[in-house]
Symmetry: C2
Subunit: 314 residues, 2 copies
């Protein structure tokens, strides 16, 4: 039996600081309707898809940025996304900043949810690999204060949905092979992944012209090495003066890019994703049970940073 | 201080079953001399570089294949490689089948050694990820009996040599991100990797036309994600009727291929490898201490095979 999901990777162009949630939600609804008209069952939006990428600004009082966070999901402005999903029978992945009251205090996360074709939330993911820095660095033209504005999530999960096993990740997670592997070890057949990636990385500007190559390289390798689809979706273009890469694409379990956006604005890339294409990778070269050697992988979980061998005697 | 190693990736064309060790060693010596003439300090040979890829044939008595294994390294036919290395001041990585007497019995490994510019062995690596199968599968035109002819190695190490931190791997190891990561966590700045890869993979022939893409994809991702050089070297061409990929290349810590072979025969690809190029990756995006999240990676070492989530209730 073939198991096909028609997926739309729903890239967004810039969202300015002044844009209201309702304005942004209108753009998401346009993507949902267009994707539905093209026969899709699942739409993948970017990371922090409801607002501008606010971690580029420092606020001494972190609560000054709370207007960028969602206190409920669905909330008053986002309910219509769920209602439309249900009406059209089309699910979605959505990244947003989450403000949660748990265990007696406020928590802030960089979050994504997966919503089914019935408009119900299937699962929630909180970003594990927060990039950037935790303290204000005034020398940067733009901050990347994710370690300041968010607490990290603690786990990568997968969910049975859309006839397959789906996982979620966010932005910087995609650079870490552990991200894909932890989900691959739970049988992931499709990993959904939104991102906001500035072209310019202030600590290492010498790599700026490779940002698109690196974006694709890590997602293609993650797909192939786990025999899974990967759907990577950008918020792209010049947002508040900060240039962000596009490069939205849908990657097959072969590692091949099978659909891609070519602009830096609101754009859909669509692919008919056959989950059964995962099988020939998962059952042969990447049959984990047969070929993995966890007894040789101890350092991956024992050690966070690199520890070099002792220097040679002089 | 720049730390530069001039490296030659020394691809070999086919070695037939009838070729003697001395004939093969002559080809390796030609590579050593040519690389030395071009100012190299390190030559990287393929996996099983002294013989044909004998695991493509089944022998009911495994000892029938013992002529393909080395009992000593250096041995009578290989001593000249070490002598030449010392004389020219050029080190090498060499893959070979190893027959060892340890703990009172015979062991067989798929092994690589690193030899320094003084002709002394710096380190030895025994292949961790043995691909293929352990039982004769007569339906295959060519066997891939590495799980039959070899015991697996148990660890990935690195060594201080050539002014840097060097690691070794072999063939199928390159497809597994854990390979690079375990060495990256020990500070690897250059990973040396020989391979023998048939174009045709009998269990999944539908991927055959992607074999070169996959070859490069995994090595480029491993380099970038660990901020390390990777030197991947093929035994290539039609060996005993079995077509093997070439694709020998030297990959920078950026993930870019900076030197490559273009034939399937004996050929050198040469690059001036500046180990200090690793630093801007290891200190920024891939600053492991700052950004890795081992607390979320538990499954990588706890689990060998994939375990899927429970099916949805009907």
């Amino acid at each position: 039996m073939s198991r096909i999901i028609n997926v739309a990777a729903a890239q967004l162009g810039p969202i300015e600081r002044s844009h209201s949630r309702c304005e942004v939600v209108e753009r998401l609804l346009a993507h949902l309707r267009e994707a539905h008209a093209m026969g899709c069952q699942l739409v993948v939006f970017p990371e922090l898809a409801l607002t501008t990428f606010f971690p580029r600004w420092y606020a001494e009082d972190i609560a000054e940025m709370d207007a960028f966070y969602e206190r409920q999901m669905p909330g008053p402005e986002t309910q219509i996304l769920f209602d439309t999903a249900k009406k059209l029978g089309i699910g979605f992945y959505l990244g947003y900043a989450e403000l949660a009251h748990e265990a007696g205090r406020v928590h802030r996360y960089n979050t994504a949810i997966l919503v089914g074709q019935n408009g119900e939330i299937v699962g929630k993911y909180r970003k594990v690999h927060l990039p950037g820095h935790a303290a204000h660095e005034p020398w940067r033209a733009f901050q990347h204060l994710e370690k300041y504005y968010f607490e990290p999530g603690e786990r990568f999960d997968v969910w049975r949905a859309f006839g397959g096993v789906l996982g979620m990740a966010l932005c910087n997670d995609r650079r870490w092979p552990e991200t894909y592997r932890v989900m691959g070890l739970q049988g992931a057949e499709m990993i959904l992944l939104g991102y906001n990636t500035p072209v310019h990385n202030p600590p290492a500007p010498e790599h700026d012209d490779l940002s698109m190559f690196h974006n694709h390289l890590v997602m293609q390798a993650g797909a192939y090495q786990n025999g899974t689809w990967v759907v990577g979706v950008a918020k792209a273009g010049n947002e508040a003066g900060c240039e962000m890469i596009g490069g939205t694409c849908i990657i097959a379990p072969s590692g091949e890019i099978v659909a891609a956006c070519s602009t830096k604005g609101d754009e859909l890339a669509i692919a008919r994703c056959d989950l059964s294409l995962c099988d020939s990778y998962k059952n042969t070269t990447f049959n984990f049970e047969r070929h993995r050697r966890p007894e040789a992988y101890g350092l991956i979980t024992e050690r966070r940073g690199a520890v070099l061998p002792a220097p040679l005697a002089a």
